[in-house]
Symmetry: C2
Subunit: 270 residues, 2 copies
């Protein structure tokens, strides 16, 4: 695949749209990959959504998201594991290259306990992932999300966890917005060789407009996108590159012009 | 010093107050340490401020802040170095235990270049710090400030830089708000043994009310404060502990009740 063919539209970039609308826009814009969010599958159901995506000629780079393993009670933990199993089955139905794991916050546990709960949770669902032919991508999130979304905050952690699990259906997802600041990131990208399951791009604007919806279009921020993309390629990753932007202003302008800009910036900046 | 005697009020916690007001409140509240911000010295000037603090019987845990070494032009860089030299002289005048260095963002340079500029800048000002009897404390900031305030974002980086500079007037400042999320933090606290120049506490509330003013009173967030304090002590630090809270709601309620609460929470949570 050349670089243009690797662009995958993550549904969160076009959040105001239904899955149907985003699929149609991908077809119009000759984008051949899509990253699907689970809550967007509700309208049509998983089977019909999968068929629609396939009929449109699209491939699914990832399903977002499993994870959130740490829970304050055993019952909630069991429910989370069950939900992760369903997510694995959905990813299989969609033919997604991986299920993205957003590992979850501590929720009343200590950080050490929560991190252990993540490792235990992934170990528990990994056999089901293997049985379904689905790979699990541990996505480290930016440390500013440590209290609310993920106790896994560096690529080193995700690599260490992948190494400890030693399961060829478990790997890492590298998102530049989450990892660009890390002095160890290039060393860890090299260390991720052989188990990189996804690569996500956006940008970090200055100032950041918000904690949850602060991401920018590539080129509108300070992230060294090309250096990171090359590092990921040098580490052997040649798969789809997801554009995943959470940004209120971009959502307000959701439309084909946005996707045209996205494609231009993808070529120019990534 | 017992733990109560180690409490230092960082002026940013009582930001609506002048230095005079904060000093008077420390006396009323029997707080024997204060951390001073440079812009708060403007009203009375450095000499008179230093005399007032001394006459009130207070000691200065730190002066905030030097740093911001990376600059897009040589002229700006030179100006920054000159400003850091003045900050060192002010810290000496105040008898501050250290000058806190907020190292600055990249400002158009790459992260690697900016990080080198920080190391070069500290090396350049270190002889003046030694001559003035002032220690320089590299404060790693939370990665969410990497684009706007500091390319130094982990204690490992600050420790590595301290080791490379090999100057007994250069060390690190450990702030729990900036570092609590880091899987390496306890290892790096131990590694900081012998060059810990300050310890700052606050808390990380959920949800975070804002990027710049999101900090909470100790006990109102998720940071494992006692574990971190003990780790810093086990690494040999027995100096003042600064309470540094940037928070709009706390500033609105700035007064003796706030300081009473702060002292209670300090005893209970730190």
């Amino acid at each position: 695949m050349n670089i243009e063919e690797r662009l995958s539209l993550n549904q969160m970039t076009t959040d105001p749209w239904t899955l149907e609308q985003t699929v149609a826009a991908c077809v119009r814009q000759q984008i051949s990959w899509i990253a699907v969010w689970r809550h967007k599958l509700d309208a049509l159901g998983v089977k019909q959504s999968a068929r629609m995506i396939k009929d449109a000629g699209l491939s699914v780079s990832s399903l977002c998201r499993g994870g959130f393993f740490s829970a304050p009670t055993a019952a909630e933990r069991t429910a989370q594991i069950a939900d992760n199993r369903r997510a694995i089955e959905e990813a299989a139905e969609l033919g997604a290259l991986c299920l993205v794991l957003v590992c979850g916050p501590a929720r009343g546990q200590t950080l050490d306990e929560a991190r252990q709960a993540v490792a235990d949770g992934i170990a528990e669902i990994a056999p089901h992932a293997r049985a379904c032919g689905v790979r699990l991508g541990i996505e480290p999130l930016h440390p500013m999300y440590a209290a609310e979304r993920s106790v896994i905050v560096t690529l080193k952690q995700a690599n260490d966890m992948t190494a400890a699990l030693a399961d060829d259906h478990v790997g890492v997802v590298i998102d530049v917005f989450h990892l660009w600041w890390d002095p160890e990131v290039y060393r860890e990208i090299e260390r991720a060789r052989g188990h990189i399951l996804g690569f996500h791009v956006s940008d970090w604007p200055v100032p950041l407009p918000g904690i949850l919806t602060g991401r920018a279009m590539m080129g509108d921020g300070v992230i060294e996108l090309r250096r990171l993309r090359r590092a990921v390629e040098e580490a052997g990753y040649a798969g789809p590159i997801e554009v995943e932007i959470f940004n209120e202003a971009i959502w307000k302008n959701c439309g084909d012009d946005l996707l045209t800009t996205m494609k231009q910036r993808f070529g120019k900046c990534v």
